[in-house]
């Protein structure tokens, strides 16, 4: 679980200082923190998280170990502050030292005295606050005791320290329900997640009454943020998912429905577990949608027919599997479902798609899947996007309700400013004739590329080598790098000059890079090549396969005229009278 982008604490301090100096229109939120610990590290993280969530936090910090005095006195500074939310941070060992470090006196009576004392304490502060304030209350439960005074005997009977702690935590939930708007912050669970040694800091405890490590403070602040968001109704409604390498492993358009990775064994089991997490969200009332670059039929076939898929078509309220850009699709989904873009979370494995959506639709929350796929299944619980403070039987039905509403409106809204996004990618394009180093890759790509492939001619290394060495052919490679890394050779164009016109024998590109304006530049380069050879006509063919309907209109869109059309193929022609001037403004560099 990666919280706060792993920003070092010291930089978080600097960010908070910056935020606090900027005037902001964001809604202010008044939070009082009562404590029996030194909570300053926690407060730094909490402020940072609230600022980045779009709040303007105003914080009141109670005096050290004065929770009772402050909460039971109507005239205390706490109530003069008029908080929206009161957070009560109690460190168990400081609250009840006897329960943690000196338990032996209580073993024989199962810690009953301790239990009663603590529950009475909670009861009096919670009901005390309720007398004087309507503020929402967040109260943490007790962490487990990791150094039991009874050693391994602790686990052999019902009188141990952790039994008492469990009972107190159980009863705290009852108390919270009795008072209105009291929410329990589960420190016991968070501490276990990170582990005792990582979560606590003994040295800071003895020196400064600061029991938690930075990891601990960060995690508690993160959990607080989730509750604050839920209290304020900042909860996401809709989960929008990519397909290839997100819902299943592999690209269905390339490998076919039967070969995608989704099963009980590695690596399919990663995707299976991930789908179960998604299905759990569906059962909690989260609407699901698909936004992927695929042929719609391929996705539908996977959903309908693949026996291992947990997610079926019926679970999705809206499915956009097409070749449009994903921001447009998200707008269409929001329109279909009649929900705001700010209530959507988009999940994709591609850095490109994630930053594209972030750039075009900053209101949408984006989860970019980690490169280590085994981390997929914990991302929803750690993000907290879908955390709410309730669960109802209606939640179970919500997905279906939305689904029945959709088919009515399907309208695409287009963007006007794609170019600024493309420029931000810092794309470096290189087009060059194939050489001995690139021949194996060109042959391999010709074997493998199915979707953006105009003629789908498969070539061996030797065949490519012959064309490279022949004056009648030009084999052009397209290489792309952007700020996310080097993608290598991602496109190939083979031109046949053996006749009195140029024939585009082969033209294909990796699907990852389409819709960035690259295909146009690549084709224009081929046209210029023909013009430089003194040829006035370029001919091209689209040969239909089961997988390449994506590029059916490619040549037409590029200004070619149709000469002959059959079910199997379409033949085109293009007249060149001058060198085509290429529009390369969206690229950082173009090398041809």
């Amino acid at each position: 679980m990666e919280l706060i982008n792993n920003l070092p604490f010291n930089e978080v301090i600097a960010e908070v200082n910056k935020f606090s100096k900027v005037k902001s229109e964001n809604p202010s939120i008044r939070i009082a923190v009562l404590r029996n610990i030194t909570a300053d590290n926690y407060l730094v993280y909490l402020k940072y998280l609230l600022y980045t969530e779009g709040f303007q936090p105003v914080i009141f910090t109670g005096d050290y170990d004065s929770i009772i005095q402050e909460s039971l006195n109507e005239k205390s500074a706490l109530y003069q502050f008029e908080p929206d939310i009161i957070i009560i941070l109690n460190y168990g060992e400081n609250l009840v030292p006897d329960l943690y470090s000196k338990f032996t006196d209580y073993v024989n009576q199962k810690g009953d005295d301790l239990k009663d004392n603590i529950l009475n304490y909670y009861k009096s502060i919670l009901s005390g606050i309720r007398k004087f304030s309507d503020a929402k209350i967040i109260v943490n439960n007790l962490g487990r005791n990791m150094i039991p005074v009874l050693g391994i005997y602790e686990s052999q009977n019902h009188n141990g320290q952790n039994q008492v702690i469990n009972t107190i935590n159980f009863e705290l939930i009852t108390l919270a329900k009795e008072e209105k708007n009291v929410f329990v912050l589960d420190i016991e669970r968070i501490a276990n997640y990170y582990g005792f040694e990582k979560f606590y800091d003994q040295k800071q405890w003895y020196i400064a009454k600061n029991p938690y490590s930075l990891t601990g403070h960060k995690a508690i602040a993160w959990e607080t943020k989730k509750i604050v968001n839920a209290i304020n109704g900042k909860i996401k409604k809709c989960l929008v998912l990519d397909c290839d390498n997100t819902l299943w492993g592999g690209i269905v358009g390339e490998v076919g429905v039967e070969n995608i990775q989704i099963s009980n064994t590695y690596p399919g089991n990663i995707y299976l577990a991930f789908q179960q997490q998604i299905l759990n969200l569906y059962s909690r009332g989260i609407i699901l949608a698909i936004n992927s670059k695929n042929n719609f039929e391929d996705v539908k076939e996977v959903l309908d027919k693949h026996p291992s898929m947990l997610l079926k078509e019926k679970h999705f309220a809206s499915i956009y599997a097409n070749w449009d850009n994903k921001a447009d699709n998200l707008k269409a989904i929001a329109h279909d479902l009649n929900i705001g873009l700010d209530s959507m979370v988009f999940v994709d494995d591609s850095d490109f798609e994630c930053s594209f959506v972030k750039e075009m639709l900053p209101q949408v929350s984006v989860i970019c899947l980690p490169k280590d796929r085994t981390q997929f299944s914990s991302i929803f619980s750690s993000s907290g996007y879908f955390d709410s403070l309730s669960f109802s039987s209606e939640d179970l039905k919500r997905g279906q309700l939305y689904r029945s509403e959709i088919d009515r409106k399907k309208e695409m809204v287009k963007f006007t400013d794609l170019n600024s996004f493309y420029r931000s990618l810092e794309m470096e394009l290189e087009i060059f004739p194939a050489d001995n180093f690139s021949i194996p890759r060109v042959a391999q790509l010709s074997q493998r590329t199915n979707q953006f492939n105009l003629t789908t001619k498969r070539y061996s290394e030797d065949e490519i080598k012959n064309m490279v060495n022949s004056d009648d052919f030009s084999v052009l490679c397209l290489k792309l790098a952007d700020k996310f890394g080097d993608l290598g050779i991602v496109g190939v164009c083979i031109i046949d000059f053996s006749k009195n016109y140029a024939l585009i024998d082969t033209f294909f590109m990796s699907c990852r890079i389409i819709n960035r304006g690259i295909e146009t530049i690549f084709l224009q380069t081929a046209l210029n090549k023909a013009f430089d050879k003194g040829l006035k006509t370029v001919k091209a063919t689209f040969s239909r396969t089961k997988k390449n309907q994506l590029v059916e209109s490619f040549y037409e869109n590029q200004g070619f005229s149709t000469i002959k059309k059959t079910d199997e193929k379409i033949e085109y022609s293009y007249s060149i009278d001058k060198n085509v001037k290429m529009n390369g403004e969206i690229f950082k560099t173009i090398k041809i």
Partner: protein, 78 residues
């Protein structure tokens, strides 16, 4: 010199890192109280991936000592 260290100290005490130098100490900075001291210690431990002993923690009250203890622990000061 020691830009990272001066940045950390600057962030904690809300001063320009250029003002942090060899004589900076608890006596020269008015807001070097126990809370800022705590923030300084945890910042240093995290940023340099070191652990101070409890005694070191209370000794780290001026720039020279901070530098020498960090160097002792093999921290890379840049």
């Amino acid at each position: 010199m020691e830009e990272k260290l001066r940045n950390i100290i600057g962030n904690v005490f809300e001063i320009d890192p250029d003002q942090v130098n060899e004589v900076t100490s608890q006596d020269t900075l008015a807001n070097w109280d126990s809370i800022h001291h705590l923030n300084l210690i945890v910042s240093l431990e995290e940023s340099y991936n070191v652990n101070f002993t409890d005694e070191e923690t209370v000794q780290l009250t001026n720039y020279k000592v901070i530098k020498s203890i960090l160097q002792e622990k093999g921290a890379f000061l840049t």
